[in-house]
C-alpha cells in the first residue's frame, strides 16, 4: 500500500497536498518559482507561491506576521544556517508571540531548511544547529530520517498551530523508501523505534539514523543486538520512549552529527541521566569532533561521525554488564 519515493520528493508531496487541502497555506523563499513555468507556481498561482530576496529576517518575520493574521506560511530557507541571520525571529519572536499575548494569537508557521551537508561546503554551510532551537518553549523542531517520516512530519508541521522548524538532512535527499499513499500524518513528539534490540539502545537523529542502522546490522553479525530509536522531533522530545528502551537494555549510545556540547545527544543523555541513571551501565556519545566542518574530504570525514565509530562505541558500552532492570 506504500509507494517508493525519494526523501526530497516525499517532502514536496506533503507540501503540495497540504496546499491543495488548505488555501491558507502559502510557500515562498529564495530561488524558487523564478518563472511562470514553475510547476508550483502554475498549480497554486503567484499569490501563494513566491520568490523572495536574500532577506531572511524579513522572510521569516513576514511569515510570522502572516501566520498571526490568518495564513499558514511555509518559508523555504535552503540551508539551516541561513536562519542565523534572522535568529531573533526564529527563537525570540515566533515562539513568544502567542504566550505574550496571553493566548490570543497563534503562529502556524513552518520554517523548512536542510542541514548538515557534508559534501565539501566547509565551515559555514555544513553545520547542525538544531540544538540552538531545542528547548525553546513554544517552538517545535522536526528532523526526519526516512521518506515516510519526511512526508508525515511535514504534513503534521503544516497543520500544527505552532511555529515548527522542519530540518531535513541534505545527505538523505536522494534516499528512497516506502511512503504510505494518501493522507499520511506522523504526529510531532512521538519517537520511532527504527530497529528493536536487546543489548544496547542507539539513539540517533536524522542522517545518523541511517548510519546507526548500518552499524546495528554489522553488530548483529557479531551477535550484538542493538536497537535504534529515532526521536524524529527534538521538540517536543519523546523522553519516555527513549528512557523505556534504555531501561530495557541498560546500555546506550547516542549518535549526533553535531559537535558534542552543541548536540541534541547531550541533552538526551541528560534526560537519561535524570530518569534512568540507576538502570544504565554505560553511555557513550558519538558526535562530531570539536571543530568547524573543514573543506577537504579527509578532514571532513574525520570530524563527522561515521559508522565505525558507532560500532566502536557500542562495543565499548557492551564491555559493561547490564544493570538488572
Amino acid at each position: 500500500m506504500g509507494k517508493e519515493m525519494m526523501y526530497a520528493d516525499a517532502i514536496a508531496a506533503a507540501i503540495i497536498e497540504e496546499m491543495q487541502r488548505d488555501p491558507n497555506v502559502v510557500f515562498y523563499g529564495q530561488n524558487m518559482a523564478m518563472t511562470e513555468r514553475d510547476p508550483m507556481l502554475k498549480k497554486f498561482g503567484k499569490e501563494r507561491v513566491r520568490i523572495a530576496p536574500i532577506s531572511e529576517t524579513a522572510e521569516i518575520g513576514i511569515g510570522i506576521g502572516a501566520a498571526m493574521t490568518g495564513l499558514r506560511p511555509i518559508v523555504e530557507l535552503w540551508m539551516s544556517e541561513f536562519m542565523l541571520v534572522a535568529f531573533d525571529q526564529v527563537i525570540n519572536e515566533a515562539p513568544r508571540l502567542r504566550y505574550m499575548s496571553g493566548g490570543q494569537v497563534s503562529v502556524p508557521l513552518v520554517l523548512k531548511a536542510g542541514y548538515g551537508f557534508c559534501a565539501g561546503w566547509a565551515g559555514q554551510h555544513s553545520n547542525c544547529i538544531y540544538h540552538t532551537m531545542m528547548g525553546i518553549p513554544g517552538l517545535k523542531v522536526v528532523v526526519p530520517s526516512t521518506p515516510a517520516d519526511a512526508k508525515g512530519l511535514m504534513v503534521a508541521a503544516i497543520r500544527d498551530d505552532n511555529p515548527v522548524v522542519y530540518l531535513h538532512s541534505y545527505m538523505l535527499t536522494l534516499e528512497k523508501g516506502e511512503v504510505p499513499e494518501g493522507e499520511y500524518v506522523v504526529p510531532l513528539g512521538v519517537a520511532d523505534i527504527k530497529r528493536n534490540g536487546t543489548d544496547v539502545t542507539i539513539v540517533a537523529i536524522g542522517w545518523m539514523v541511517k548510519k546507526a542502522l548500518a552499524a546495528a546490522e554489522r553488530l548483529a553479525e557479531e551477535g550484538i543486538s542493538a536497537g535504534v530509536v529515532d526521536p524524529r522531533t527534538l521538540a517536543p522530545l519523546d523522553v519516555a520512549t527513549i528512557v523505556d528502551s534504555v531501561k530495557k537494555t541498560g546500555r546506550v549510545v547516542l549518535v549526533d552529527q553535531a559537535p558534542r556540547h552543541s548536540s541534541a545527544a547531550a541533552v538526551i543523555a541528560g534526560e537519561i541521566a535524570e530518569h534512568a541513571v540507576g538502570c544504565v551501565n554505560a553511555l557513550r556519545m558519538v558526535t562530531a569532533l570539536d571543530a568547524p566542518i573543514p573543506y577537504s574530504e579527509p578532514l571532513e570525514n574525520y570530524v563527522v561521525p561515521h559508522e565505525d565509530k558507532i560500532v566502536e562505541a557500542v562495543k565499548a558500552v557492551m564491555a559493561h554488564d547490564a544493570v538488572a532492570a
Binding site: 529576517t57 508571540l97 502567542r98 505574550m100 496571553g102
Partner: protein
C-alpha cells in the same frame, strides 16, 4: 464613570469636520491622560508596574493623525512603545491598565505587560520588544491582506532607532517588490533610548530627513510635522490610498519629540522602578531643546487651534479632558483590584 471607549472605526472623509476634529482631540487627550497616569503610578503605587514601560506622550498627533485614515479592519502594528494605538482602536483602558499592572484581567492576562499589548480582535495582533523585528511582522500582515484579497491595509509604526536595524530595510524592499498594502510610519521622536538620532543616523548626520531612506526602495518618502495631527493625516492618507490601490508601500517620517524619558529607570529587584528625567536634560544637559519641544506639545497646540477655530469651547475642551481623566482613573481602580494571576497559570498559552 468610564467614558465609552472610542469609536471602533475612525471617520475618514477627506476634509475633517467639527465632529472629526473633536474625535481627534478626544483620542489625543485619552492617550496623554493614560500615559501621564502610567507615569504617576510609579510614584503613587510603587512596585505595581514591573519591567520596562515606554510612554507615547508626544506621539499623540502622529498616532491619531495616522489612524484617522484607517478603515474598520485595517491592521495596526506598532513597536513595544504601544499604549497609544489600542486606545484609538477602542481597546478598553481597564484591560490595558490591568495588563500593565500584570493582572489576570489584563488584555494578555498578565503575560505580556506594557511592551506587549495585543488585541487581535481589534486588528492589533501584538508587538515585539526587539527593535525592528515587528516591521517584518507588520509586512506579513500585509501579505495576508494581499493573499486573502481582504482590502485591508497595515499601519506599521516604529521608531527612528529601528530604522537602523536590518529588518527595516529587508522588509521595505520586500514590501516594495511584492507591492504589499502597508504604510510605514517612522516615528522620529528624536531619541533611540538615550541616544539622539543625530548620533547614529547617516541621513541625519548629513542634514537630510530620515524619509530619504525611501529612495533605497524607490518608494514615496515624506517627512511631516508629527506634532500636527492634520498634517500627519494628510500625508498618511496619501500613503494609505496608495496602499489601498495596490501600488505598494510608502514611508512617512513623522517628526516630533518624546516628551518623557525613554522609559522607567532600569532597576534590579527588589529596588522599585521609577520614572527619570528626560535624557535631553539628564544625559545631554540640554534643557533648551527639552523646553523648545515642550512648547510644541501636540496636545496643547491642537487644543489651542481648536479653540481658536471655535471647534471647541473652553468648556467643551474641559469636558473632554475630564472624561478622559475619569476613564483612566476608572481603569487604574479596575486594574488595582484585579487579582494577580495564579502562579500555575504560567504554563498556559505556550503551545496552541
Amino acid at each position: 464613570m468610564p467614558q465609552k471607549t472610542a469609536k471602533k472605526s475612525a471617520p475618514r472623509k477627506a476634509k475633517t469636520d467639527t465632529n472629526q476634529l473633536r474625535w481627534m482631540y478626544t483620542q489625543m487627550v485619552r492617550i496623554r491622560e493614560f500615559e501621564e497616569t502610567v507615569k504617576r503610578v510609579f510614584i503613587e503605587h510603587p512596585g505595581v508596574i514591573r519591567g520596562h514601560s515606554h510612554l507615547g506622550d508626544g506621539a499623540e498627533a502622529s498616532i491619531v493623525g495616522a489612524l484617522y485614515t484607517r478603515h474598520d479592519t485595517d491592521f495596526v502594528m506598532p513597536s513595544y512603545r504601544c499604549h497609544g494605538y489600542p486606545i484609538v482602536l477602542g481597546t478598553p483602558l481597564r484591560n490595558m491598565m490591568a495588563e500593565i499592572f500584570g493582572r489576570r484581567d489584563g488584555l494578555c492576562h498578565g503575560f505580556g505587560g506594557s511592551m506587549h499589548l495585543a488585541d487581535p480582535a481589534r486588528y492589533f495582533p501584538g508587538t515585539s520588544g526587539i527593535i525592528g523585528q515587528s516591521i517584518a511582522h507588520a509586512t506579513g500582515a500585509a501579505l495576508t491582506a494581499q493573499v486573502k484579497k481582504s482590502s485591508q491595509i497595515v499601519y506599521c509604526f516604529f521608531g527612528d532607532g529601528a530604522s537602523k536595524q536590518g529588518a527595516f530595510f529587508e522588509s521595505l524592499n520586500m514590501a516594495a517588490v511584492w507591492k504589499l498594502p502597508i504604510v510605514y510610519i517612522l516615528e522620529n521622536n528624536q531619541y533611540q533610548a538615550y541616544t539622539h538620532f543625530s548620533l547614529e543616523d547617516a541621513n541625519a548626520v548629513a542634514g537630510d530627513p530620515l524619509s530619504k531612506k525611501a529612495e533605497a526602495f524607490s518608494i514615496p518618502g515624506a517627512t511631516v510635522d508629527g506634532t500636527d495631527p492634520e498634517a500627519v493625516r494628510k500625508v498618511v492618507a496619501k500613503a494609505a490610498d496608495r496602499a489601498r490601490a495596490g501600488d505598494g508601500p510608502s514611508l512617512v517620517e513623522t517628526k516630533f519629540y518624546r516628551l518623557s524619558a525613554h522609559g522607567n529607570v532600569i532597576t534590579v529587584p527588589p529596588l522599585p522602578t521609577q520614572f527619570p528625567e528626560h535624557e535631553a536634560v539628564a544625559v545631554y544637559g540640554n534643557r533648551k531643546e527639552f523646553e523648545q519641544w515642550h512648547a510644541k506639545d501636540p496636545v496643547k497646540r491642537f487644543r489651542a487651534r481648536l479653540l481658536k477655530d471655535r471647534v471647541l469651547t473652553e468648556a467643551s475642551a474641559k469636558q473632554i479632558e475630564a472624561a478622559a481623566r475619569a476613564e483612566v482613573e476608572d481603569a487604574v481602580q479596575f486594574a488595582l483590584t484585579s487579582p494577580l494571576p495564579a502562579p500555575e497559570e504560567a504554563l498556559q498559552y505556550v503551545y496552541a
